[in-house]
Amino acid sequence: MDLSENRRKLKHLYSRAGFGAYITDIKEAEGQGVTYAVDRIFKDSFDYSEIKINHGAADIKNYRAERKNMSKEERQKLLKVSRQNIAKLNTTWIEKMAFDNSQLRERMTFFWHDHFACRNILSVYNQNQNNTLRRHALGSFREMVHAIAKDPAMIFFLNNLQNKKQSYNENFARELLELFTIGIGNYTEDDIKNAARAFTGWSIDLDGNYKFRRVQHDFGTKKFMGKSGDFNGDDIIDIILDDKRTAVHITSKIYSYFVNENIHMDKVNQLAEGFYNTDYDISALMKSIFTSDWFYNKENIASRVKSPVDLLAGIMRQFKVKFKNHLAMIGIQRALGQIVFNPPNVGGWVSGKKWIDSSSIMFRMKLPEIIFKSSDIEFDFKDEPLEDMTGEFQMEMSAADKRLYRQVKTSIDLTGYYNEFSNTDNEKLINGIAGFIIAPEINEKHRTLVYKYCDSSSTENMIESSILNLISLPEYQMC
């Protein structure tokens, strides 16, 4: 068995199916091969734990109903606590991506968070939606769509509370078709109108749970995608999912995210066929991707530009980085332009090259040093208003907030790398380490450059500085 070939494949697998690997994860699997590792990854992701934080004063069920009985100060305080909670949810999740065993499930949850992109001011709703996505992340896509259509955060975000038979609101119906399922070009404006009618009355009760409000629902006949009947929202979802084009659309998106942005349509159609025939079994789809030979083809390796969260969670996972000041993890996300629980719009985040511009590339290359040396982030955060659903309070970052977001204090554990490389001579060291942590090939010029800036005062310093310099190269932005 070719160990270096195996290592290359495992590195690829872990970076796509998870957020990268600590050196010992790769060492452990490389004697066994890729199939073993895939099984292992699925097994590790079978069990999972939900994200649960203490919501304190913001632990309420239905803000819209309860705010009526609250004073202005109480409301203000509640929203402030909720905002702090969302920051806590953010960093809790980033740490889960970085340290949890079930990394495939976290990767998939993150993918679905981008797919069903949503924002809400209430931390409880964010937590619940995140756990709903996590629960279905490797299950049935059909069940996930049904669940998300009844998810309070989504019902708020896409205005389904305002969707009543007396006055329709098409927002949810439109995004369901355009972004969440079948994709643009496969339905008409009339289909949207009729779908919106079917979702009338899909609302929230006083406990903050989904509630079907009969009086708001339009029980009339709807014509939808060539069918006609007294459809409700569940019927609409099933009709969309019974159309094979939905399987093709979702599979293309998964292919583009997990395999290559340059989509190979034959492969997508083949995968979509399987996805459709298993009634949208996400695990089966992902398994056929990760166990295929072509997933490990040269053109798919190191072809993906890491998103900011990939980069941050990846560094944390590969080098066991812990942030003592949690808010710095948010500061880094802000500086790089991707904040979890805060996608730019319902279309989700950009991808690929779109992440890279002259300023972001310099910050990305500087980031390893900031993290390894615990130096402050030199970055002026833009004065952006924070969303406030009720439009009641102005909520902008204070100067003190901004200072906290900039303070980086970390601990790093490179023991695995020290153990592996303490007896390696300097000639082979840099390429040896790169074999575990960098996706693209490193050539002699890189090696010379990395070596030039290494600290050879001790073996450990040599290893640490090699790692730091390697991950400061543009190549580290790829996975």
């Binding site: 530009v305 002259s358 300023s359 590339i361 009641e392 309070f393 543009p474």
Partner: protein
């Protein structure tokens, strides 16, 4: 005092030659467009105040601005008390006010509304490039560097991101230059410059961007050193950023678009003093900026455009503030405004959509005008459709 502009060309010629030939046709016209983004949703009705309108006063019992406090412009409209200097620009024929700019089916979320303004999209489409980024794509195809559009900030806004080309974010030319010039980074750049080009096109793109960033950082920094402004700008970040832009323009930088933001306009509570302060910063800052340019003969080539992601509701709320609204006024400022003053009539407060103003002009009409009539660009290629152009510049 020797005019700084006389000394510039030779410095710049050397600098540009060392850049390996910047696309000269790009900024040949020498026209500069400065975009000022007022983040948070500026309340347009308390910016340009309809001081004779009863509906205005009855909708805003604690928040309306009294007739005696406004700077009167016409017999019905006047500026917020913070905008004394804007009155001067108005009187000098350097300012044009366009009322009720918006778009169909307006969105009241900061994020989404800002997306729509920055991308120049309709409210029902999602475009992940910005209108100025697409301008670079279309007009600056052969440009070697990214400094043709500069945002004074640490991160680049969507507005300046194109499909193929991006602008560059520079908060502080010195800091950006010194970071990019760190030995490690310049050695990374050298790997690429010495002809070691990676096969993978995305890795190649990363290196290209690094090299571009370094050369733009050097160019912007060195250019910024050519002219040091003596104009006094108001204290604070916004004034500082405008000064940076003025220095770059007067130094003859090969940049056609500048982008700068002033935040804090999300005035849901206790709006009056806060907004007045912000408007004063805007007005004093832009006045100083135009004075600086005028003294150096650059005001005629410069056009300033201010916008906010939405206006606010006509009626005030219970916290002496205003909530998110829709259409809003925008300003154009420069030495070359052919129709100064009010471009169109004041918003009709008797004809509201659910308590919000109806729009009269699509924001893409404004963009088409700026692109076509000011920058000489193919506006329909950039905006993906044909929009009306205003007779204003």
């Amino acid at each position: 005092m020797a005019s700084a502009s006389l000394m510039i060309p030779s410095f710049l010629r050397d600098l540009q030659a060392s850049q390996g030939g910047i696309n000269r046709t790009f900024a040949e016209s020498g026209k500069k467009l400065v975009i000022v983004q007022l983040s948070g949703g500026n309340d347009g009705l308390n910016t340009v105040v309809p001081y004779k309108n009863d509906i205005y006063y009855s909708s805003r019992s604690n928040l309306s601005i009294k007739e005696n406090d406004v700077f009167k412009l016409t017999d019905e409209l006047g500026f917020n008390p913070g905008m004394e200097k804007f009155k001067e620009l108005y009187d000098n024929g350097n300012l044009s006010i366009i009322n009720s700019v918006g778009y169909p089916n307006p969105d009241r979320s900061h994020f989404r509304a800002m997306d729509i303004w920055q991308s120049g999209s309709g409210s029902e489409e999602y475009i992940d490039t910005g209108w100025l980024g697409r301008y670079l794509d279309s007009e600056c195809e052969g440009c070697a560097n990214s400094h043709h559009a500069i945002e004074v900030s640490d991160s680049l806004s969507l507005a300046l991101k194109g499909e193929k080309r991006n602008g560059i974010a520079v908060q502080d030319p010195g800091r950006f230059f010194y970071t990019s010039a760190e030995n490690f980074f310049s050695d990374v750049g050298k790997i690429y410059k010495e002809g070691n080009h990676p096969d993978e096109h995305n890795v190649e793109y990363l290196y290209k961007t690094v090299v571009e960033a370094m050369s733009s950082a050097e160019y912007v920094y060195k250019t910024s050193k050519i002219y040091e402004s003596r104009q006094s700008y108001p204290n604070g970040e916004f004034g500082k950023h405008l000064k940076t832009i003025a220095e770059l323009i007067i130094s003859g930088i090969d940049t056609s678009v500048f982008y700068v933001s002033l935040g804090g306009f999300d005035t849901h509570a206790n709006q009056k003093g806060r907004q007045e302060n912000l408007l004063k910063q805007m007005s004093d800052g832009l006045y100083a900026f135009t004075e600086d340019l005028k003294k150096n003969d650059r005001l005629n080539d410069t056009l300033i455009f201010t916008f906010s992601e939405f206006g606010r509701r006509v009626a005030q709320n219970a916290s002496n503030g205003t909530d998110h609204g829709t259409a809003n006024n925008v300003f154009l400022i420069g030495g070359n405004i052919t129709k100064p003053g009010f471009y169109n009539s004041a918003p009709n407060l008797a004809d509201l959509d659910n308590g919000d103003l109806n729009y009269q002009l699509d924001l893409r009409d404004i963009y088409a005008t700026l692109l076509n009539k000011w920058l000489g660009a193919d506006d329909s290629a950039v905006l993906g459709g044909s929009f009306n152009k205003l007779n204003i510049i």
